[in-house]
């Protein structure tokens, strides 16, 4: 059986305060390009900030990117939840580092699990044309 065209890799973190949370994970080494990123609208506030997304020293998104741009609600089709309009990054099992801040987290907010979804593929051009643009 051949490899799938793409894979969705998930990064998890428990958000416990309004300070910066750093999440690190190694990307699936069966895939050569990181092409998309998404957050589902479950717990984090609209004012959350993605301070940094970095692979091999390359910033995938601009520093202090407003998370609202990549948060989607349940109404969005699963294969259209990803933001893909950045330069695909060539990967080889590299570590990805994400820094995240929920600026509206307060003393009355319950801790929650943040999930960041990464779209990996071996065919970056095909995946954009076929499903995500």
């Amino acid at each position: 059986m051949g490899k799938p065209e793409f894979i969705v890799q998930t990064m998890d973190a428990i958000i416990t305060s309004n300070s910066i949370h750093e999440i690190k994970e190694h990307l699936d080494s069966d895939f050569t390009h990181l092409v998309g990123i998404a957050i589902s609208d479950i717990h984090c506030s609209d004012k959350s900030i993605i301070n940094l997304v970095k692979v091999k020293g390359i910033d995938i998104l601009p520093e202090n990117f407003e998370a609202a741009h990549i948060i989607t609600s349940k109404n969005v089709e699963p294969n259209k939840k990803f933001y893909t309009m950045f330069q695909p990054v060539i990967i080889n099992g590299d570590e990805i580092s994400v820094k995240f801040t929920d600026t509206e987290f307060s003393a009355t907010t319950s801790d929650y699990r943040l999930q960041i979804f990464l779209l990996l593929t071996n065919n970056p051009e095909n995946i954009n044309r076929a499903a995500f643009n």
């Binding site: 989607t72 609600s73 969005v76 939840k81 309009m85």
Partner: protein, 103 residues
């Protein structure tokens, strides 16, 4: 290949904030988007070509992220892009304009 560029716009107590950005490294502006809940005016060619005049960018979580941008597809010739961000709440945080470009 698409490059995503952020132009930070400092919130310093005014309803309208000007910005400018030199496009010299890039051949084409594909699309633009902004911080939620602002209006954007975008001007090219030394202020002579108005592309967007006070267009609303709102919170739109029910729309796919790739569809929240405004497509422009304009060839660039080493020009300065200028614009104005308009906000409604002076107590809001700093804003930004994002350009999706091709080299």
């Amino acid at each position: 290949m698409q490059h995503l560029i952020k132009i930070p716009v400092k919130q310093d107590g005014k309803y309208h904030q000007n910005f400018e950005w030199n496009s010299e490294q890039y051949k084409k502006l594909i699309a633009v988007f902004c911080s939620p809940d602002v209006q954007l005016a975008l001007v090219f060619n030394d202020g002579r070509e108005v592309f967007i005049r006070n267009f609303d960018f709102q919170k739109t979580k029910s729309v796919p992220p790739n569809s929240r941008v405004m497509f422009i597809n304009k060839e660039l010739e080493n020009e300065v892009i200028t614009g104005v961000l308009s906000i409604q709440n002076l107590e809001s945080e700093d804003k930004a304009v994002y350009l999706i470009l091709e080299k």
